[in-house]
Symmetry: C2
Subunit: 191 residues, 2 copies
DNA sequence: TCAAACACTTGACCTATGGTAAGAAATAAA
DNA sequence: TTTATTTCTTACCATAGGTCAAGTGTTTGA
């Protein structure tokens, strides 16, 4: 499958888009590249784009009131990243999104996306399903965080997303799991 | 505002529906009542309906692998409740939804809802926005659970949803906050 | 190529919250 | 009104995970 068709492939997994509309969608996205350790979004700015990761790996994090940094999301190939709250409301974001690897992305502005929603109802359907699934995942992660041990969460992540352990430093994985790197280190020794 | 128009009022807050379509939507929902302490959904069943709460209060909970019950959601007037994962996938739900007060609901089946999505794209838009917001909320709750103290979460909830404390037993609130009723009790004494 | 920065581990100690058990207060039922 | 049930609090001890501090490899970049 050609690089720039991955996006359409994933959209068509959940709804059907005509060839004419496919072209319209592709032309609305702008391909960009970002180098490892560079920021895609800096806390305090408005998130002007929503990004589809064609290749690479990024993390989204924020600084809490005590100055501690927490990793919110780690996203790799064929996933979306951005702060959708800031993106749709035009409020400043509290998140910083940093590339953990050199990455290639497709980006789209809100105006362009909302225009597409009107022109192509099935694209809005795709996003309805996307957010629906994201919501379900967030609730599952929430219940694991609230009511399972760090060991269980670690094992679950190892089973579900083994690639992440090959590509992402453990500090970020620990933070994503809601524990310190020290605790993660102890868990890994135990297992 | 008449009881049965609240649903349309909330939908029209985020998108615009024609009068003809409003009638179509209303006729697709079936009003039902449920008594306090009765179950709307029992764990192990498929969630056949999505519910809009016109008046009342319900909680959604699940039993973990160690047999402990955890409260997932507490929802009151003018909110949606149901297990959307089970609802859309037709898999058995792990959740039980119980009425905490005598409640009046409007329910709709998936078939009917998906039919409406095709007929009324703006209704699907409403759900896109609904899930988008639900996702953002779930992430905020996740970060509070992971990185804030139980005291902060309690104060936040007291500030944002004081009504809940008037209407819901503290056991359920404690569970929703991810702590034991004993801990909640200690926090309340402290504050 | 060599210093600086990063990534990971280990140990000693601390703290927020959990578990258990029991009793008081409030609410519902008879 | 009396009894039963639910709701909430308190006390004591246990523990998962955090904090601080130090140390070893491993990248990175000038």
């Amino acid at each position: 499958m050609p690089e720039d068709n991955k996006l359409l492939y994933y959209i068509n997994k959940w709804t059907s888009i005509s060839e004419a509309d496919e072209a319209k969608i592709l032309s609305a996205f702008e391909p960009i590249s970002i180098k490892k350790r560079k920021d895609l979004l800096v806390s305090g700015q408005v998130c002007n784009y929503l990004y589809f990761i064609t290749t690479g790996c990024l993390r989204s994090s924020y600084i809490d009131s005590k100055g501690a940094e927490h990793v919110y999301q780690i996203r790799m190939d064929n996933n979306w990243i951005g702060d959708i709250d800031s993106y749709f409301t035009r409020q400043n974001s509290k998140y910083t999104i940093e590339a953990l690897e050199d990455s290639n992305l497709l980006r789209i502005s809100v105006d362009r996306l909302e225009q597409l929603f009107v022109e192509i109802p099935n694209l809005e359907r795709y996003f309805r399903i996307l957010f629906q699934k994201a919501y379900i995942n967030a609730l599952n992660r929430l219940s694991a965080t609230m009511w399972e041990t760090a060991i269980d969460r670690y094992n679950e992540m190892l089973k579900e997303h083994p690639e992440i352990f090959q590509r992402v430093p453990l500090v970020h994985i620990a933070s994503y799991l809601g524990i310190t790197p020290e605790s993660l280190s102890r868990i890994r020794r135990q297992v």
